[in-house]
């Protein structure tokens, strides 16, 4: 097992370099370059006339974009080896600082979202499996599927217009995750302020996730209930809830546990649409704006970090399989 882990960890390095190389190529092959964007800023369609080739060329030289691509990549690798992600082209700030500002916000949103999705859909999914084709099963299936099919930008706009705009109700804030000056509030006021801001964006991020998670739990639970050990538990005369929760649900959650491993990279990426609509400066918006501005250092940093986290999480879920399911082993079996 230890040998397997070491091997897997070592393999991560070439994989990571490979992913970085592909990302680097894709980013640089995409049409448009940061230097001409810098010379010619545009808001929607208004452009200013200050674009000449000399401007673009001197800006390219300043960013080191005039060097051959392989040299640029090697220089980038060299810096990355010392965990230096460079400075953003857009505002000359360290990329790490920019990510450091956006990440906590996105983590807060995503962790809350995942928590709410789990809290609601796992009990409902489990209950649906225990009473298949009961009214809870049918109603939740219809409701969650309906929610799943609603586009989030539409729901966000509807919620804003109806609950937070100036036309109907005006009870929620619609921008950011905290009021200006809220830092001066006592802690409970501050917490309430943040909670109040989070209601609408978190609502928009969660409702689509219920369908998948509840159906997943239901299917996994149905599988487990048919197992012999459940019949044994029932035959022992255990009360039904004990059978359901202690024996069935616990085992049904094993696949969910490994699923959680893959959530790691998902936590990092924010939702572009929701962050854009609610003016939340999270990772989604940072990534989106960096792509539009061809801010290569930021794009590369986000891509590399998420590639790294994806590799780590695949690794972790493999290990977790072995831990929770004794039938799986990575070492040589001793017979």
């Amino acid at each position: 097992m230890l040998k397997y882990i070491a091997k897997r960890l070592l393999l991560m390095i070439p994989t990571l370099v490979g992913i970085a190389l592909i990302t680097f190529a894709v980013v640089h092959l995409a049409p448009g370059d940061p230097a001409s964007l810098k010379a010619q800023t545009a808001t929607e369609m208004l452009a200013s006339e200050g674009m000449t080739r000399e401007i673009v060329e001197s800006t390219r030289a300043l960013y080191g974009l005039d060097k051959p691509l392989h040299v640029q990549f090697l220089l980038w690798l060299k810096r990355i080896a010392t965990l230096d992600f460079g400075d953003s082209y857009r505002d000359h700030r360290p990329v790490i600082a920019k990510i450091g500002e956006a990440l906590p916000i996105t983590l807060t949103l995503n962790i809350l979202t995942i928590l709410i999705i789990y809290l609601i859909s796992i009990p409902i999914g489990a209950y649906s499996a225990l009473r298949p084709r009961g009214w809870v099963d049918r109603a939740s299936a219809v409701l969650f599927m309906a929610l799943y099919s609603l586009p989030s930008f539409w729901v966000a706009m509807m919620l804003i217009v109806l609950l937070a705009g100036g036309d109907y109700l005006n009870i929620f804030p619609i921008t950011g995750i905290i009021s200006q000056g809220a830092d001066a509030l006592p802690w409970h006021g501050w917490a309430m302020n943040v909670a109040w801001h989070l209601v609408l964006p978190v609502a928009c991020l969660t409702y689509g996730g219920f369908a998948f998670m509840s159906r997943f739990t239901r299917a996994s639970m149905l599988d487990v209930i048919r197992q012999d050990y459940i019949r044994t538990a029932r035959a022992k005369g255990l009360p039904e809830w004990r059978v359901a929760v202690h024996h069935a649900l616990r085992n049904a959650l094993i696949p969910l546990l490994t699923l959680m491993g893959t959530l790691l990279p998902a936590l990092l990426g924010g939702s572009v649409i929701i962050e854009q609509i609610f003016s939340i400066p999270g990772m989604g918006r940072l990534g989106f704006e960096s792509v539009l501005a061809r801010d290569y250092p930021v794009i590369m940093a986000i891509a590399t970090i998420s590639a790294f986290l994806t590799l780590v999480s695949i690794f972790l879920s493999d290990i977790m399989y072995a831990v929770v399911d004794p039938r799986i082993t990575f070492g040589k079996r001793q017979i």
Binding site: I174, Q180, N193
Partner: protein, 529 residues
Amino acid sequence: MRRGPAIAAALACALFAGCSGVMDRPPGRLAQSLPSDPPTLNPVLATDTTSGEINNYVYESLLDRDNATLELKPRLAESWEISPDHLSYTFRLRRGVRWHDGAPFTADDVAYTFERIMDPKVDAASLRNYFRDVKRVDKLGDHAVRVVYSEPYFKALEIIGGATILPRHVFDDGQDFNSHPANRMPIGTGPFRFEEWKTGRVIKLVRNEEYWGEKPDLSGFTFEIIPDQNIRFEMLKKGASDVEGLRPIQWARQTGGDKFLRRFDKRRYWMPNYSYIGWNTQNPLFSDRRVRHAMTMLTNRTQILEKILLGQGEIVASGFYKFGPQYDPSIEPLPYDPAAARRLLAEAGWADHDGDGIIDKDGLPFRFTLLAAAGSSFARSLALILREDLARVGIDMSIRQLEWATMLKLLTERSFEATQLAWSLPITQDPYQLWHSSQRDRGSNFIGFSDPRVDEIVERARREFDEAKRDAMYREFQRIVHEEQPYTFLFINPSLVAVSKRFGNVVDYRLGLDPREWVVEPWERLIQW
């Protein structure tokens, strides 16, 4: 009856509502939204409009423009002299001006700023482009500076006088200029001083109580960064912001209610800009002047203006500011006239020879793609109208909307047939960048326009300091461009703005509003969200 849970729920609701962070907003502060976080608040490095908006309150330049007359007037410079050969500009600086940190403002600051602009290591290539002809900057004592040009240029005074001055004692401390901490914590001489910047969220300014000039009545600004335009409009309606730009549809249809008009005034002003369709004159389809005339005559500008912009705009006939002295009002925009267009196309040899419904010439069918920016709903609607009108004379047009960086690449490479764009212009224009044939391969003249007479006029006008003479030259220039029709000029679009009625003395000048002059009226409780 179980009352417990009900009472608990009611209490929880009350507590939640009570602490929900609804706070009072200081009435003297102006709350405004910005579409994006400015990359920097260093005016030498900044290329975007949002940072310009903020820097204009914090920093100052040597000269300023008078809101009403648009003439240059003193600001950090008390007076200026221009040598008879128009090569050296001497500025006498105002005494007693202090930076926000208390240090005195001197000629060192001016010289330092110009040196930085011209320093190739500074990420200010676009600005440096305008200073290419500056030979040197001489400091003449503590309160006088002379800037020497290598060639006379009629916009020199505007360029030097308009450059924002940075504090040398802050920036010249050995740190890298491009990533200097002061780029995010500006120290200026202006009427407002920088208070805080929470990246991606908010930027705040407060009134500079030690300002050398007339102090504004506003106590400060809160700029909240809100990328989505619909949300900015919702913020205005819910009372969270005081000033907001409106789209034509919002202006015409969504802001007519009593509730809105009780709280807001609608204002309109005309900044220099115009939209156009540019025909790539290097492309065989559009190399013939008659074809370009026909294209303009097939563009139903009156209908487009009414249908898409709901009447908010005016048709223009040239690329100069429609309400400025250089614009030639005697040029009549070509009329919408499909019959005449058909005749012109036939004259140029375009006819349906192979009977497939599409006109052709030398075996080449008249089929092209209009390139436009992805975000522009105006371009999309315009293309739909144009496409139908063109199809009636046998021209097949399609539209391709691309994200800005990609579109810019195609424009730079000149690999497009026609494009819909708009230019925003400076107050005094120099058509060199856009129309001189030297800019065909390396400048903004991406439609490949070239005319020897135009080149001559544009070059001569750059050295002409007599305004009347220069304007006469530009009139001739406009006539030639009108004859050539390399662009189908569309509209000048007004800025449509709603301003909270809690401000008084709001004047809509030709170039916009000036909150530095506004006074704060007493008003009901303001809520901060």
